[in-house]
Amino acid sequence: MNEVRCTVPSDTAYLPMVRAMVTEGARLAGFDPETTHGILLAVTEAVTNVIRHAYGGEPDQRIDLLLGTRPEHFRLDIVDYGHFVDPSKIASRPLDDLRPGGLGVHLMKSIMDRVEYRPNAHGGTTLTLEKHAPAAKGSS
């Protein structure tokens, strides 16, 4: 067992707690501060999207986080029980169309090595985010 499971409310007030947990997960995996910061950004975008899009802003729904901790590798599953959307329709705006919003998915995909949406059996979506340590990237 080297996994941490966490359930947090779909409330933006808990975003700093999610980042605190993820920071420690990245530290256990041995990541440098710069890579850790990128992961924090990707995870924030992912959880924010669950709150806004899967739960329509309702703050009292459930988000499950499964954090895998092994050396040189970060993995987080973000599980919601909300509104499921065809993953092929989840995409950011074109970057040259300057308007507020529409950047989150682009940021996640730029930063992480794996961004994968899957429907849950019981409804809702599981989003898996993965990142290899920069040094381990070439060798894997």
């Binding site: 933006t12 980042r19 710069e34 910061h37 924030t44 975008e45 924010t48 507020p100 950047l103």
Partner: protein, 109 residues
């Protein structure tokens, strides 16, 4: 997050500290709104003490950039640390915003 307002000449300066995310960006937006309503220029946002900012923070700044443009004013950002600068680059906003190296430079003409 904490936002402190200062003025220097015609410049309205917003010193942002801490974490900017969907929980805190509405507070930043409402503070910027007062300066936008009084058509201040330049609007200076000092990000030096920001430890974290996400796309909701960028959205707030893009909104302000568009508003300031509507009355011919200027928005300038300063104090971007390497992590924050990286975010602007990933979003290809480093060319869109007027990024200054210091607050003094951002307040100038």
């Amino acid at each position: 997050m904490k936002v402190t307002q200062e003025t220097q000449g015609t410049a309205a300066i917003f010193i942002v500290e801490g974490q900017v995310d969907l929980h805190t960006s509405p507070e930043l937006r409402s503070q910027l709104r007062t300066a936008l309503n009084s058509r201040s220029s330049p609007l200076v946002v000092d990000l030096n003490a920001v430890s974290f900012i996400d796309s909701s923070g960028l959205a707030t700044l893009i909104e302000a950039l568009k508003s300031v443009g509507s009355y011919g004013g200027k928005l300038r950002l300063c104090g971007l640390n390497p992590d924050v600068r990286k975010l602007f680059e990933l979003a290809r906003l480093n060319e869109v915003f007027d990024l200054r190296t210091s607050r003094a430079e951002a307040c100038g003409p």
